[in-house]
Structure formats: C-alpha cells, structure tokens
Subunit: 120 residues, 2 copies
Amino acid sequence: MMEKVNISEKFSLFNEYWSPKIVGEVNDTHVKLAKLKGEFDWHHHEHEDEMFLVIKGKLLLKLRDQDIWLEEGEFFIVPKGVEHLPVAEKEVHVLFIEPKTTLNTGNQITERTVQNLPTI
Amino acid sequence: MMEKVNISEKFSLFNEYWSPKIVGEVNDTHVKLAKLKGEFDWHHHEHEDEMFLVIKGKLLLKLRDQDIWLEEGEFFIVPKGVEHLPVAEKEVHVLFIEPKTTLNTGNQITERTVQNLPTI
C-alpha cells in the first residue's frame, strides 16, 4: 500500500457496528477501524495485546477490576489474557493496533465473530 | 501497563526533536511518539514497516519517487526497504507504530541514532 490513509475518510466508507476493517499492516500487526455502539461481549485474547485508540466519541472499556473511560486522543492497551468488555453508549470510532492473528471476539466464537476482515 | 494514555499529555512531557519515546507495546510492536522539526536523513529499514500517524501539524514524507503530505488524522506506512525522508517545516507531532527492532535512523548509525528509547 503506497497511499496515505485519511482516518475520517475511511470511517465514512462503512456504517456497521462491531465489524472491524483493515486499513493497514505493519509487519505482523494490523491497523483496523471499527464503529462501536452498545455493549459487546466479555472476552480475552489468549496471545494478543490489543490497542484501542479512540478517534471519535467516548468509550468505556470494562475490565473485571477496573473501568477505563477513553476519550478522543486516548488509548489503552489490553494485555493478552485480560478479560475486557467495550461499551459505547453512543457511537464511538476506534482505531485498533493488534497482531494479525487477533479475532474480534477473542477466546469465543459467537455470532459477532468476524473471520475474514475486509481491507478498505 | 494498565493505565490509559492521553497522547497530548505525553507530548507535553518532552521537547527534543527526532527523539522517539515509547508509550506502549503491543506484542512485538512499539507505539512511539516523536516531535519532528526540520529535515531528517534519508534512510530505510531493512526488515521493518514503519507507520507515521500525524497527531499535530503537517509532515512531508519524501520517498524517492513520491512526496506524501500528511495532515492531522492521516497516516502512511513506509514498507520495509523503502527509502524515506521526513521533513517538518514547522513542528510536527507523530505517533509511530513499528516493530520493536526498529532503529530511528534505519540502515545507518549517525549522531541522530537513538539506541535505548525511554518509555514515558
């Protein structure tokens, strides 16, 4: 990919929630965008750390022992093995940095699992 | 690291140019911040892709065959092996995503090489 990426522009290309899109790769790592709204499912990633960077809106990232509120320009890296639950009262735009092996629903396959992520 | 990171707050902690700071790790990948001003040196990274995300200001990323202008909220991933030259007419704040093995001056060791990056 030899083109620059404008993050807002990419977000304007889709409307589904909880459906990550790939917008870049850096060696073994993917850069993904997703729109979140509502509550996801508790899960963890056995082997992957997962970075949530809020681009727009306000995200509540619940851990079992801690509530983390992320606003625009803030990020949190959920370490591998740590259970988490993203909650978006209103629509939130998130940029993810995570290993290419990362599945959105982590340790469980549910109806919300997205297996083959599109690149946009 | 179980604390969230506010990117602007981290940028307020240092003033040097061309001196990347580590602000997070995602498996084998580092998240770094740097303030850039002026012109760097042409270099490439033999094995590492390097993502430049502009947080503040406007960055000119010169490749041998292309000039890429990056504004706030835009990123470019320089593929491994591709020569590049960052140029910042005015101060620019950049977030980098790159493998932990990445050296700022790439294939050459110069007086601008930073070997042991601090975590802030």
